[in-house]
Symmetry: C2
Subunit: 380 residues, 2 copies
């Protein structure tokens, strides 16, 4: 078995009514002035902003605000956040939102100490320091609230790339699942599919690390069960809380132990799509790419794909399991082909080339440009 | 679903050849002089001590040594360690050993700042500070290497009691499964049964926290599978590494999230036995107590016991599952009745009364002295 280092010092405060704790947590770590980073304003409508502001005020914490992070977050907003953080001399960042906001906050936290944060995404600068990060999660999908990863887009170059560093793991994350009860169904589904995809990226590498393999399977089953439940009972708190915690566990490192760091080629191919089509949510792209990716990859790690087919889908072949998976995703309302989202076969070469810039791509098999095109063709 | 806080900042360095990292890890956290705490000397025979000493020397770390921690560790050895730590002005403790050594190190780390460490076990003093703790694990069972708990005995009062505090979580834990390959089979089995028992203490409480419930089941299955494997192939590194990591995961908090803190009454009853019979290993005691405990408790949380019977043992009733569990434990060579270890029915009242001093006992059901006697009778 592969050697590994596991370290996740993030403190998770989970449950109904927990947002009010954020102020004392931030104060407890010695901060007096912070940057609050947020999205398009939904946190004002659902009251999360008001709860957080009240908690910060009671703890005597001052803050500056930057709003406007969008889905598929972009570099320019991060640069704005860094500028404000420097001008206002903050000592920490509080991200309130989903993965887009948290990823932007991570980028800004590292960017605070760098002349050009994008250099870190290009791999020419190493992230050694970052402002301490706090988060209040409002949309479960990326697990960014409890991991070291961030994804950002640079639209002028059609790049959607990632960074990772231990200093980017949030110090404290508050997760109140009840604030997600009012989410549109589509966002719940995108989050669930993103979370399942994170697990599968690790799982399909398939090693003798049975503890991780078993936990991966258990998490996938729980996410499917809870998403099914929420489709018929959208206000069920218990199902929501399970989905939310499973999504965090899907990509906080625990279920990925000794799985070679995962494969992540399906994610890179999806980033190739949503970098060109920022209107497409990441989870939507994954619902389309992943079944095709499995079909294509099955021959390269038959044992693990067979195991997945049997354990998760009670199917006798990966092919039949992919069918069941697509049926499930469709039932949830997710598209499972490029055609469904208006991307025609003629666009495939451009998407494939865009994804291929992130090479090396793939661990189970190192993918060539031709492989990526073939996968996209299966997805069309 | 229950609210929860999850925080486990322990850094785990896992795998073959990793012991040599301990020096730089300790130095990295700013320590120059430490106390090394160890057991009866087996770490000299298997070379773990030599690897650790070499690593400490290369990192320029000085140390004092206290040897002689025994199974069912006692207060007097902890007091000796505290005395040496103070005299030598160390700033951290390195425990090299299994749960007994690590628990003693935790007690000493807290005791360094207290006038009487036993007061914390009695619950009359709170543990707020402790010397930073590092561990090199040589026997997997308690998960003490990655949690906040410690158990200690005070033989003159026949007490075997526990403490827990976040400051007791080790900063860094090195786990090299290969050093456990030479363990006597009996110790491997005791460790496996202890780990399974930790999971069951949480699991049988049974809540709607499906993420945790599923992970518990997965871990139990993995431990059984790997122990079976090791019985026929004792030198299989992969099976050993899986058992070792599963035992850590069994009680590091992850699989216990939102399970009401667990029940722990079977553990308390076992402590009642081994406090009176220090020659009985904790895992041995648990192999005897747990099947009886399940038989007795099943009526108080039928749904969860039924689920366990089905998922773990493919059995249709808890009673039949207990039978299969006892057969499995016996096959591993563990005793499953008090008679087998020479404890007769006449001793039961004394054991029950000794356990009952740890009241309140039980979460699924608050156990009376009569309940405890009944469970011990089922175990006899």
């Amino acid at each position: 078995m592969e050697n590994f280092v596991f370290h996740n010092p993030c403190r998770v405060i989970f449950g109904k009514g927990m947002i009010g704790r954020i102020g004392s947590e931030i104060k407890g770590l010695g901060h007096h002035k912070i940057l609050l980073l947020a999205g398009q304003g939904s946190i004002r409508k659902n009251g999360v902003y008001q709860q957080a502001a009240k908690s910060l005020r009671s703890a005597g914490i001052k803050w500056a605000e930057v709003w406007g992070v969008r889905a598929n977050p972009v570099l320019s907003k991060v640069e704005e956040a860094v500028k404000v953080a420097r001008e206002q001399k903050v000592s920490a960042i509080l991200a309130i939102g989903g993965g887009s906001v948290i990823d932007s906050a991570k980028s800004a936290a590292a960017g605070f100490y760098l002349s050009e944060i994008w250099d870190a995404f290009e791999g020419v600068t190493e992230i050694k320091r970052a402002l301490p990060l706090f988060t209040i999660l409002t949309l479960s999908a990326t697990a960014s609230e409890m991991n070291q990863w961030a994804v950002l887009s640079k639209p002028d170059e059609k790049k959607k790339w990632a960074i990772g560093a231990e200093v980017l793991i949030p110090k404290v994350t508050v997760i109140d699942p009840s604030v997600q009860i009012s989410l549109p169904w589509k966002q719940t589904v995108n989050g669930a599919i993103d979370a399942i995809s994170h697990i599968m990226e690790n799982y399909f590498v398939g090693t003798d690390q049975e503890v991780s393999m078993g936990i991966c399977e258990s998490l996938i089953r729980t996410i499917i069960e809870m998403t099914d439940l929420l489709q018929t009972q959208p206000r069920d708190y218990s199902a929501r809380a399970n989905l939310v915690w499973a999504a965090t566990m899907a990509h906080n490192g625990i279920s990925a132990v000794a799985l070679k760091g995962g494969d992540w080629s399906a994610h890179k191919i999806e980033h190739g799509i949503s970098a060109l089509h920022p209107e497409i949510a990441h989870g939507t792209g994954l619902a389309i790419v992943f079944p095709a990716w499995i079909k294509y990859m099955e021959r390269y790690n038959r044992k693990t794909f067979q195991r997945w087919a049997q354990v998760i889908w009670s199917a006798h072949s990966a092919d039949s399991a992919v069918g069941k998976m697509k049926t499930k995703y469709s039932k949830w309302g997710a598209p499972v082909s490029l055609t469904e989202i208006g991307i025609s076969e003629t666009e495939i070469p451009a998407i494939a080339e865009n994804a291929y810039r992130m090479k090396p791509i793939g661990v189970i098999k190192k993918l060539s440009l031709k492989d990526i095109k073939a996968i996209l063709n299966l997805a069309s």
